[in-house]
Amino acid sequence: MYTPEMRELIKKVEETRSQRIAKGDFPRMTAEEKTEVLEENHPDYIESGFVELKVGPNKGEKVPNELGELLQGKSRIEELKIDLNKVDYEADVLIIGGGGSGAAAALEAHKAGSKVIIATKLRFGDANTMMAEGGIQAADKPDDSPALHYLDVMGGGHYSNVPELAAALVKDAPVAIKWLDDLGVMFDKEKDGTMVTTHGGGTSRRRMHAAADYSGAEIMRVLRDEVQNKEIEVLEFSPAVELIMDTEGKVAGAVLFNIETEEYHVARAKTVIIATGGAGRLHYQGFPTSNHYGATADGLVLGYRVGAKLAFADTIQYHPTGVAYPAQIFGALVTEKVRSLGATPLNIHGEQFVYHLETRDVEASAIIRECNIKGKGIPTPNGGQGVWLDTPLIEILNGPGTIEKRVPAMMRMYQKFGIDMRKEPILIYPTLHYQNGGLLIDENGATSIENLYVAGEAAGGIHGRNRLMGNSLLDIIVFGRRAGKSAGNLSKKVELKDLTLNHVEEFHSMLAEADLVTNSVSPMLLPNYTNKGK
């Protein structure tokens, strides 16, 4: 699969390998060096990529251009007459989104005795959760503690995280692992039951639990199976296009859209949990993405229209290792576990230029600098560039068979395109991976809008301005469960008044007053890739 030019360059990687091994670990950056590389290279610092919001609870704050367009876009139901007296679905807890946090929330809300409905845009389980490869953090080993985990989370997030949320995350982490373990998730374990744990970027202890490199898929398929066992109602291909309020300003359900028949349905609910995931498919600043097809920030739009505040919406995670080549899987994720196992990034001369386990933002920035500023990237046939990730090093350091055993999905993905990562290095470049911010929640997943909860990637505040590997699979379980339990309990006390969509009209009036004339209709629901490449 590699071109003859690339094969020549791979020889340099092989030439320098023994010297690199002999030298030992590349030095980590100092705090000052990290700040410098971030400010110079990280896409979050590129001002032209951001727009100031003119309306809504975050007026005056900056968000990525593509997100701003949607947050200040027109409602899909602007011209429609929706009869709110004709209720199609009735629930105590309506969960919008069928990924990991939605499923975890559903199980807890069900346990609390609520009637739960999950409405999801694609199939149940089609979500970023399914694609999470590397693992899930929890401080459950004897040399570790929630406090050490907390310090890593705060440092990784540049001390901007909401402390109560970070504390809830690390404190519930072992409980979350136990919950999953009891549900039959097959974590990697030693024969005696000891969890196999590794480091991730920015961790001070080996606390990354995994299920090979199918960690998220394994968790998602078990949660989905459990939701089905509880016979919880799931409406597939039915995204929410607007929240419904009651006349007292409480959230009271959602308008659902049947993606095939294009009918609109009214779902009335005492509480609503937004669990719609991230925004990678908005392709901020033209970046490719490792995200799921449906990751179009729908939940942020729904929440923003009813007045829920966003936190850290201006900070995006670019995963340092996305596929730069071959073109067919451009932007797909190369799990951080590959670096955890010892693979190091190298420039065109086969030289290492950054420690391989810096936090993701620093690692990504160093790779962008190597390519764009230092000019030491490797050009790819599709006009881009990348750096090598020396994957054969994994087998040299850990023994033959390690790659097949620990990262089988990754190995399979490359094999399908004629590359054997056990023998040849792979080409990588940062890819748009995670929405660090989202709708601000409290420790129970509640927003400032009555009856409205958020869980998973759509929630903001937990990770501050940067998330560490393995804390996303963790947060969907921790805050999914917290939101589900809390919404389930609250729903017993809620009495809804008449339903209304007046907030949509009010939002349109605000847009008009701010002279925001747009043709954008939001939420986006699905990206449009038709005629791509023509």
């Binding site: 705090a31 694609l122 199939r123 389980g125 089609d126 399914m130 694609m131 459950d140 080993k141 004897p142 503690s145 406090a147 310090l151 890593d152 440092g155 001390y159 402390p163 109560e164 504390a167 690390v170 072992p174 692992i177 373990d181 009891d182 549900l183 039959g184 097959m186 974590f187 374990k189 005696d192 039951g193 000891t194 199918y214 998220g216 898929a217 394994e218 078990v222 199976d225 089905q228 066992n229 291909f237 993606i259 095939e260 799921h292 097809y293 449906g294 067919q328 994720l333 046939p381 089988p408 399979r412 399908k416 395109f417 699905l526 449009n528 890739y529 038709t530 005629n531 791509k532 490449g533």
Partner: protein, 226 residues
């Protein structure tokens, strides 16, 4: 250079000329389709994009994931619509990790005629018939590991003359293995007990009360294990 070469593909019977570098999924988008079904993670993890094809002149019907396979010249494509699979409903807490459990929820596994169609179709190159064999014999741990990389695309089940929903059999075997066969984790259980007893609360509260500068200093000087 071959990168520019166009090939002909037939999507639901219509002919389109597309670059030969594209995946099947990208070729459909290139041809003008906005995918509503049959598209999920685009990375080979979710199993949503199972696609049937046949190459002109070749009688063999093939099934692959559209996001993980390149187009070929004269490929006749159609996507598998939603495919209903049978799933047993159970309470995992009241099961035993034995062949009897499999027999109760998926008795059809004993109707397997050994045709191996499931294995031939597997988009993940798993030995599907073998893992069903393990399930039949109650070798659940073997079934769990042999089926572990399954993405539940359902291709196996579409081809099975015995009506087996293989991916759900594998899932039950894996959950039973995870819960009952794999050893309990002593260090996890201890830590969870500590959390419930509030052992770690004061250390966390102390950190939560620190200023950013204090946290920075602790962070930058923290001890990192190898």
């Amino acid at each position: 250079m071959t990168d520019k070469k166009m090939v002909d593909v037939y999507i639901l019977g219509k002919k389109y000329s597309v670059p030969n570098t594209l995946t099947i999924m990208e070729s459909m988008e290139y041809a003008g389709y906005q995918l509503k079904r049959g598209c999920g993670c685009r990375s080979g993890f979710c199993g949503a994009c199972a696609t049937v094809y046949r190459v002109k002149g070749n009688k063999e019907m093939k099934v692959v994931l559209a996001c993980q396979s390149k187009v070929e010249d004269n490929m006749y494509l159609t996507q598998i619509p939603f495919f209903p699979g049978d799933k047993g409903v159970y309470d995992l807490n009241n099961l035993e990790a034995t062949a009897d459990t499999i027999a109760k929820y998926y008795p059809e596994v004993y109707k397997c005629i050994g045709c191996n169609s499931c294995t031939k179709g597997c988009s993940q190159s798993l030995d599907v018939m073998q893992y069903i064999g393990y399930a039949q014999r109650g070798e659940l741990e073997k079934c769990a590991h042999a089926s572990f990389d399954c993405v539940s695309c359902g291709i196996c089940a579409t081809r099975c003359p015995a009506g087996i929903t293989h991916y759900n059999v594998g899932l039950l075997a894996r959950r039973l293995t995870g819960k009952y066969i794999a050893a309990q984790t002593a260090h996890l259980n201890e830590r969870v007990e500590e959390i419930y007893e509030g052992v770690h609360d004061s250390a966390l509260e102390e950190l939560m009360g620190k200023t950013t500068d204090e946290l920075k200093s602790l962070y930058n000087n923290r001890d990192i294990t190898k």
